[in-house]
């Protein structure tokens, strides 16, 4: 899963841009799966599905649109009703919505977590229970 240290994040948004590039090669209709929010001077937060080991979103989804495949949460757009109860259940308060209105879950870049690899401040890292 992803872990994030708000104290050392510089707010540069390289993670957002990397996510764009990796998933959509810059020719996009969709948004990034990770969003940074800042408030001058010190507050930096990220909103992203951490792909945690105890996903509360799975239990919260009333329409069974979410399932865990090889430890990674995946969403079925046909079943999703855009009720966003998954967001409410998330212990990390992730809330990223794509342009069609569906919740946008991290796909871990096949376990490579490109955003964490590119993060210059190393505020975003792989960690937690693997």
């Amino acid at each position: 899963m992803l872990i994030f240290d708000t104290k050392i994040c510089t707010g540069c948004r390289v993670c957002e841009q990397t996510c764009f590039q990796v998933h959509y090669q810059g020719t996009v209709e969709d948004g990034s799966k990770i969003k940074v929010a800042s408030r001058w001077p010190e507050k930096e937060t990220v909103s992203v599905c951490r792909q945690c080991s105890n996903p509360k979103c799975l239990e919260a989804c009333p329409s069974e649109a979410l399932q865990q495949v090889d430890g990674v949460i995946q969403i079925d757009h046909e079943k999703c009703t855009q009720c966003y109860l998954c967001f409410d259940a998330c212990p990390f308060k992730a809330r990223v919505i794509d342009q069609k209105g569906y919740p946008n879950f991290c796909d871990t870049c096949d376990g490579k977590y490109q955003c964490a690899q590119m993060c210059p401040a190393k505020a975003l890292k792989r960690g937690g229970h693997q």
Partner: protein
């Protein structure tokens, strides 16, 4: 037309009529002038009438981005504001990082041109293709930080703001535009914004950019990130100390001016060193958009008279302007002064330089204590802070200093022009050219006046291990400065930060440009460098059209010997370097570009 890297759109906002139009940018112009500084210069040169009053509604205020702005390319968060300067009467392009440019690109515009004058204060809100004019009477008079807070509370944290403070509203010629607490500082761009009754530009965008060759881009980009990370400056010192990384080195080289260039031996070098800053002040590293360096620091003062003061910085230039330029050795006062500049929206280099000038006037009896009303002498931090407030409010002697050092010296007379440290009206920053000759040539030939960012030969004259050149020789200096000016014109035009050039070579930058845009003219480095030369010649033509002064330096740097330090006894040998520079540029002895050069660049 399918653009890569660019959005291809130009937004014209007419504040007089409260109307706006969107037009397509021609690919030919984009490939020849690249974007950013080059594009802004072309627009202002073509469309603003010769001899236009900088504060008249007819003057343009151009916010321009480059092809790299808003992409994953490193250090690509820069935006340029181009206009005719009220401080110097010639071209000015002021450059700031942060998040405004990337947001403008996401809203779908490469360039936003603001013209006319609103009947009463307004904010312009840009949300993709929706442009709205909002009354700003409730914000008029508020400082820049409060304006940011109110606008962010109203619209949300992901809306980006560029606004002016009280100084810009009063059209004080040294005022700045503040965006996300970073400044478009130099040349009085804030006064132009104030003259249009525009309090703030608020931008939010949701569109995305197309990249020409995503795979090549990611590969070249990764290489560039690696270069930046392993470079001793961008990957080491600059990350830790910000731009103050050079502070101790500048003092040792005798380049750091003290008390308005009267000395080069700084008795406060230890108290204001980069280590004191990092250990005593810095709370957090901060970065502009897409930047792995994070040279910006959030600092608070934890002890002393100025306890509780905070700012984003302090940068090297400010540590000089409110430190040794005013004879001050209290870092707390530097932080307080920088914060005051951000609040009022004034250029900290110009303000610090002007206060140092006034302090020397007091020292020489040109300004009396009665005129000022308090002790304005070198080393008096309270007076410095008080004077800064007066500049921001336009009161007393502050009103005079707010006009800039040049105008203040003209009004005061009594030989004060000898130590008015400006070139063409723009106040000099923190490098004494008597200790690094090429810097003198860079000041004299800079297209916006006394500025260190058109060419920064200090790196080669004093800091580099490889390719170091003798600071006390005139050999190769003209060629060096010319080449750097051309390269930095490109860097300012593509939306990249100058600091990237420390670690990346021009070839890497050109490969990034080509992989993003796919423009044929960006394929070969020779074509791109020619564009840089074209842009520099264009701003020169603009300045000649508006009646620029001859290229020279303040008399103190040309005629007075350096009294102490490593460069003791030196004067700046400008004349010799200037002759060679004009020859290499293809300009005549008055600095007018020759027909042959203009024909070669397609400017005839």
């Amino acid at each position: 037309m399918n653009y890569y890297g660019y959005t291809g759109k130009r937004l014209d906002i007419d504040l007089t009529m409260s109307t706006w139009t969107v037009s397509e940018l021609s690919p030919e112009v984009l490939s020849r002038y690249i974007g950013g500084k080059g594009l802004a210069a072309r627009i202002v040169y073509d469309e603003v009438d010769p001899g236009c009053d900088p504060l008249a509604p007819e003057n343009y205020l151009v916010f321009a981005t480059g092809p790299l702005t808003g992409t994953l390319a490193p250090l690509s968060g820069r935006t340029v504001v181009g206009t005719k300067s009220p401080l110097t009467g010639i071209w000015v392009d002021s450059n700031a990082g942060g998040f405004l440019g990337p947001e403008l690109k996401r809203a779908g515009y490469d360039v936003v041109v603001i013209k006319g004058k609103a009947a009463s204060p307004v904010n312009v809100l840009i949300e993709d293709s929706l442009i709205s004019f909002k009354p700003a009477d409730n914000l008029w008079g508020l400082d820049a930080e409060e304006t940011h807070n109110r606008l962010k509370n109203e619209y949300g944290d992901d809306y980006r703001v560029a606004c002016i403070g009280p100084a810009g509203e009063q059209m004080i010629p040294i005022s700045a535009i503040i965006s996300e607490m970073r400044g478009f500082g130099r040349g009085g761009v804030g006064a132009v914004m104030g003259s249009k009754n525009l309090k703030a530009l608020v931008v939010h965008g949701t569109q995305t950019l197309k990249i020409f060759d995503p795979e090549a881009f990611m590969r070249i980009n990764q290489e560039a990130y690696n270069e930046l990370t392993i470079h001793p400056d961008t990957g080491g010192g600059r990350q830790r100390y910000g731009s103050n990384v050079i502070y101790s080195a500048m003092n040792e080289l005798g380049v750091h001016p003290v008390r308005n260039f009267q000395s080069s031996v700084n008795e406060h070098a230890e108290a204001l060193s980069e280590d004191r800053m990092r250990e005593d002040l810095v709370v957090k590293d901060k970065a502009c958009f897409g930047c792995p360096v994070a040279c910006s620091k959030f600092s608070t003062v934890k002890k002393g008279k100025y306890k509780g003061e905070y700012t984003e910085g302090p940068e090297y230039e400010n540590t000089w302007a409110f430190g040794s330029q005013c004879g001050n050795g209290d870092y707390g006062a530097v932080v307080a002064a920088e914060h005051i500049c951000d609040m009022y929206g004034i250029d900290s280099i110009s303000a610090g330089n002007a206060i140092g000038f006034a302090m020397e006037c007091v020292q020489r009896g040109i300004i009396s204590k009665e005129e000022v009303g308090y002790d304005l002498e070198f080393g008096n931090t309270e007076s410095m802070i008080q004077m800064l407030h007066q500049i921001g409010k336009g009161e007393g002697v502050g009103l005079l200093l707010g006009l800039g050092t040049k105008a203040a010296a003209e009004k005061l007379g009594q030989g004060s022009d000898v130590f008015a440290m400006h070139v063409k009206g723009l106040e000099l920053p923190a490098y004494d050219p008597r200790a690094a000759y090429a810097m003198g040539l860079a000041y004299a030939t800079s297209d916006r006046g006394g500025c260190h960012l058109r060419s920064w030969p200090i790196a080669a004259e004093g800091l580099q291990h490889n390719g170091r050149i003798d600071p006390f020789s005139i050999e190769f200096k003209a060629e060096f400065v010319k080449n750097e000016q051309d390269l930095i014109s490109i860097v300012d035009s593509i939306g990249m930060c100058l600091f990237a050039t420390f670690a990346l070579n021009p070839r890497q930058i050109v490969r990034l440009m080509y992989s993003i845009t796919g423009q044929e003219r960006f394929k070969e480095i020779g074509d791109v460098l020619e564009s840089g030369e074209r842009i520099y010649n264009l701003t020169r033509l603009f300045n000649l059209r508006e009646g620029v002064e001859p290229d020279t330096l303040p008399p103190r740097l040309l005629d007075e010997e350096m009294p102490d330090g490593p460069a003791q006894g030196n004067r700046t040998p400008l004349k010799e370097m200037l002759e060679e520079y004009y020859f290499i540029r293809g300009w005549d002895e008055f600095g007018t570009p020759g027909q042959e050069k203009l024909a070669q660049l397609g400017l005839d």
